[in-house]
């Protein structure tokens, strides 16, 4: 899977955080805008774009966007 595309789709789930804040090493759960609703939108985006089902633990156990990319990649 294409990491840049994933990061762009991931960033689109946020309203206020600048796109420049999103990198593979971004600790997304520490972003100010991150909350349970953004988490659901990310889960929905992954379901729609990659047809992959990620769990609450997949999100909680991912520190960075790259971790999440690895989870999604392993389930494709």
């Amino acid at each position: 899977m294409n990491s840049e595309e994933f990061i762009q789709l991931f960033a689109e789930q946020f309203d206020e955080t600048e796109v420049s804040e999103f990198h593979p090493k971004t600790s997304f759960r520490e972003l100010e805008e991150w909350d349970s609703m953004v988490a659901l939108m990310v889960i929905a985006m992954i379901d729609e774009e990659y047809n992959v089902k990620v769990s609450g633990d997949d999100i909680r156990n991912s520190a960075t966007i790259q971790d999440l990319i690895n989870v999604v990649g392993s389930k494709i």
Binding site: M37, D47, K53, G56, I59
Partner: protein, 350 residues
């Protein structure tokens, strides 16, 4: 997924009763970020049961009013089923109490079924399967919960979501009836996604069951309270809701364009709209009662039919698909038809 088709049983009427006490998510001091919660969940008002109202009381009220409206005598009821997650007691089964309170004959068949979000579909399949051979002529399916009473008031992940309701569905043997058609699925690997840990026999109620712990900011609860893992449930719902409906329509060759109403378990608007859009169903065919009642566990499907489709159900022939998904994890979809149902107005119990 498992399938069933059941001939010879018609739904004759529906009724719903909710507690009179209302909580407004926009003004409730316990709900923070109210505007955002309303926008994302679609839940504005919730009717919540005080300590003296059980799910069985709400169902009893709905059943009595439905029997009156149908002009059925309680003694005519051969079969009584109560579906719930919130019984009166650990034992006996609550349905026996309902048999006595409703004045139903001691010679009736009566059983409790412990299911939640998928409970209406599971209950309907059970009662219809029991009645299809014709020895039981009339049956009552009672489905309801007081799930708000299981939520910690200090848990923002459950408290704003849940309301309480009891419903009654009257069924009759009818050799002319259109077949009911079902699809079912179960996945116990997700049991922890929605759970009350203490109070059963795996973790009996103990001296620590009432100790409140902070799980994260805004989420404090005891081991006797409801736990809801929003991310797991969401991920499950947006995948299993659509696949359950698709499985039903594909297996039984049902043309979705001919279905008048798609009634989903009312979980929250964000999840339900994802499901609707994945199935490409027009918004007009998908009623919501979320803003008025919230998520009422097992009762959502019949409550939504009564609340949002009463007039049209009373005066016409309608084709429905109902889909329940959640606690268990358990899910199911049903196709059924109705004609000129008897539906008293929603009642409010004090």
């Amino acid at each position: 997924m498992a399938h069933l088709n059941i001939p010879n049983v018609s739904i004759r009427g529906l009724a719903a009763t909710v507690p009179a006490l209302v909580k407004d998510n926009l003004t409730d001091p316990r709900v923070s970020d109210a505007e955002k919660i309303l926008k994302n969940t679609g839940i504005h008002l919730r009717h919540v049961a005080p300590d003296h109202i059980c799910a069985s009381d709400l169902c009893e009220d709905a059943a009595k009013r439905l029997l009156d409206a149908l002009e059925w005598s309680p003694e005519e009821i051969d079969c009584l089923i109560f579906v719930r997650q919130t019984p009166d007691y650990i034992l006996p089964a609550t349905v026996t109490i309902l048999q006595e309170k409703l004045g139903i004959s001691t010679s009736c068949y009566a059983i409790d079924i412990s299911m939640g979000c998928s409970g209406y579909v599971m209950g309907l399949s059970n009662i219809a399967a029991l009645m299809q051979s014709g020895l039981f002529k009339k049956g009552l399916l009672l489905v309801g919960d007081t799930i708000s009473r299981t939520c910690s008031p200090n848990d923002k992940s459950t408290y704003p979501l849940f309301g309480d309701a009891g419903t009654a569905t009257a069924l009759e043997f009818n050799s002319e009836a259109a077949e009911m058609k079902f699809s079912f699925g179960t996945d116990g690997s997700g049991k922890d996604a929605i759970i009350i840990k203490d109070g059963g026999y795996r973790h009996p109620f103990n001296s620590e069951s009432l100790l409140e712990k902070e799980i994260e900011a805004g989420i404090s609860r005891t081991a006797s309270h409801l736990v809801l893992d929003g991310m797991d449930v969401f991920s499950f719902g947006i995948s299993k809701g659509p696949s359950s409906v698709n499985d039903l329509t594909e297996f039984f060759n049902i043309d979705m364009a001919e279905v008048d109403n798609f009634v989903f378990h009312q979980a929250n608007l964000f999840m339900n709209e994802k499901i609707r859009k994945k199935l490409k169903i027009e918004p007009e065919k998908v009623p919501y009662s979320l803003s008025k009642f919230g998520n009422t566990s097992s009762a959502t499907i019949p409550l939504t039919l009564v609340s949002e489709r009463r007039e049209v159900l009373k005066t016409s022939h309608q084709k429905h698909i109902g889909c329940g998904f959640g606690v268990g994890l358990s899910w199911g979809s049903v196709y059924f038809e109705t004609e000129n149902l008897v539906i008293p107005e929603i009642a409010y119990l004090n």
